[in-house]
Symmetry: D2
């Protein structure tokens, strides 16, 4: 049994994580902490792994303390830039058997979509991305769509792919979508949708489409549990859930 503590246990993702850990046969939820609670409860409860869904202002303090105690961490909190990652690496050098996973996306399906898209990229002359979300979303395109475009652009550059063909000369503003590193990205906002994305690849006589539909927050829990199960065997810093998946 993996003894798990949850930080940010009253937030939406934290609460969902508590449920998921309780339901998992190989995990035991030993501590659920929120703002008012002391991190020492983790050691008292014997937590081996923490899951952190807190806020950018507190997550670094949480992680410094956990790494000192040798508690592994699976982190869904946002706000990690290169400087923060570098600090984490320094702390982890002093605690060489401890592992920390920083995961911008816990959706296994979204990770698979991005990894497959990166692998397919070199084989197709054309590629575009359509992301579709509920109309209450404030940003367009989505972070996942931008990240997918970056991965595809990098794979095309590495393979020496030429520019994507596009003969458009007459166009209404916006008709051809946004340009993210040379990849066209279209954002649809529609009542009834949650979070969806399609990556379309095309070449002479054929197309390949990879689509991910995410209908509920609960779908991230499989990724969180994958992190919890793998982190103790992966010392040091890992960025991205894809490194815990057998994709190669």
């Amino acid at each position: 049994m993996i003894k798990v503590g949850v930080l940010g246990a009253k937030g939406k993702m934290g609460a969902q994580t508590c449920l998921a850990v309780e339901e998992a046969d190989d995990c035991e939820l030993v501590a659920r902490l929120d703002q008012a609670d002391e991190l020492e409860e983790l050691t008292k409860a014997g937590a081996q792994v923490v899951v952190d869904f807190t806020r950018p202002e507190v997550v670094m303090d949480n992680l410094e303390w956990c790494i000192e105690q040798g508690i592994h961490a699976v982190v869904g909190t946002t706000g990690f830039d290169e400087s923060r990652l570098s600090t984490l690496r320094t702390w982890l050098e002093a605690s060489p058997s401890t592992g920390v996973l920083i995961a911008p996306n816990f959706s296994i399906g979204a990770v698979l979509m991005m990894q497959f898209a990166a692998k397919a990229a070199r084989y197709y002359e054309s590629v575009e991305i359509i992301e579709l979300h509920h109309p209450d979303k404030v940003d367009a395109p989505s972070g996942t769509a931008r990240r997918t475009a970056e991965l595809i652009a990098a794979a095309r550059a590495e393979a020496g792919s030429g520019p994507i063909p596009d003969a458009t000369t007459t166009s209404l503003d916006g008709a051809r979508g946004a340009d993210v590193e040379g990849i066209r990205v279209h954002g649809v906002r529609l009542r009834g949708l949650i979070a969806h994305q399609e990556v379309l690849f095309g070449d002479t006589g054929e197309t390949l489409t990879i689509r991910h539909d995410s209908m509920a927050r609960v779908s991230f829990m499989a990724g969180v549990l994958l992190g919890v199960r793998r982190i103790s065997g992966t010392p040091g810093l890992t960025v991205g859930l894809e490194h815990f998946m057998d994709l190669d």
Copy 2:
């Protein structure tokens, strides 16, 4: 047997029409004319219906002559504005048993998609259009997408629908597509595609999608033949193939 003459018989659409007329059990191809030919060959051959796939510069002369002779016309040539339609109506008043069909789109599937979209429009809070074409297309969005957006906008206005919800505040240029009368339209260009369109409707808890895929010019022939079969029983001017379809 309907005796059919084809004007513009050496063009792509004209040639395809000749083939389609020859293969139809209830039609007989009696004249195939192109630039160098005289319209009188139509009367010599006893043509009852002509199909015109010529050019905007010559189509009005063709139609004036045909209407005078009482030959019905099915017209796929572009360039008809209100002034030209008005002229046609005047000519047809003088030949009251003759029928002329001006069809901007002979694809039965595209016409169905547009008609269904117009009917569904009043029942959904959200709607967007995605059109997808080969990358050699020079305009975006496509004419069919613009026309669909106009029909949807008109149906929403008639039903008193409010504005489409969209909370986007941060956006890359173009991410939310083009705005055609308040409807967002996205144009995808991908090698391997021909001509495709998706209309997405959404409301709380459900979405409705109407998609048309056009893979070959031959798909327009069913619409041309529908026009040929119906035009003799429909005196006067008809604009749009939808009036020959039993959609109501």
Copy 3:
């Protein structure tokens, strides 16, 4: 304000209906009844319309009483065969200003999909249906898929369409789906899905696809409210929500 009573108010659909009526600007929820309650509460509360989501064993008694009182009824309860409909018609003759709507499906999107499919049917050589549901569903294909197939088969028969082409000679059992009145229907069961259906039409060089995705029970409420708003102006028996929609 339309004064509405709900029968079966503690059931899933009934409870959802109570919420929807309360939120509607033009409706007032005046009575919520369940098994133990007396129908007389409806008259005491001045209910003009009832929505019945009860059970086949009690719905006829409910309706007989409501019709006698001149209360209009919108009915989602199942189990109406021709004999029951005939009884309803007799009762309604004695109360000529009262209206009853029996609706097998309150999903406006599903009704639109079926109506559009029936209208498109005559224009295509091929048609198949794919319905996709969660894996806890016990029947395959779904009732909506069967109903859609029946409507398409009837439209093809009326149009004199020939048999659907299929050259299959070697096949694994079940590979070509179920046969519903000559229409092939495929049932997919997948965790993560709720209730979805695609109707695919095809002819030389083109295809037309109509897809409905239903993600939540709340999506039926727009149809229930449409019924509530229209039923007082539609005396007699109406079977099917499509008769209250402006589809023609």
Copy 4:
């Protein structure tokens, strides 16, 4: 420049290969042979690689001769069972610098779809396959769908996945598709389609869909050329184009 000879040059795939080789900047078409021609023309012309799209009855003789001459071979001809592969391995041992690629499928998109499906399989509780083809196809399900199902079934077995959930108790014959090693496969036949396949994965709250659309035989040529370019650097027997793709 790679000097290429084509065997079966008058067949559909052979003729397409001749065109593709001629258009490729790094290849030279030095011999096009069909039934009446002598294999010796290959050596006279200096062919380094042959592409074989002939027939099962002659392909083994072709390959024996080519291997003896040290000419590499890219083979799309069907009919290779374990016995034939074993014979090829023996012949290749005697010519250790020669390479032979046996490719059941030259569609890069289909290979990507199958490889991605195999990798995604372990992460999802549910999976089904829908293949869609023109109605003149005689077998159902398609060979690609069967192969995809086998790869998915093997990946699930390796990962220790349990049975796929399915509560169906009442069903029309065929509604739930064919069973290929525990995976449900549905075959749609529709005029207007060519060759298409969708693999649907589902788990709580999310689905992942991988779709390949093949519209023209020319789409296989990218795979043939990939084989031609890689085979001289890959001595011995290779079965499956995926081994020449950077998927890991």
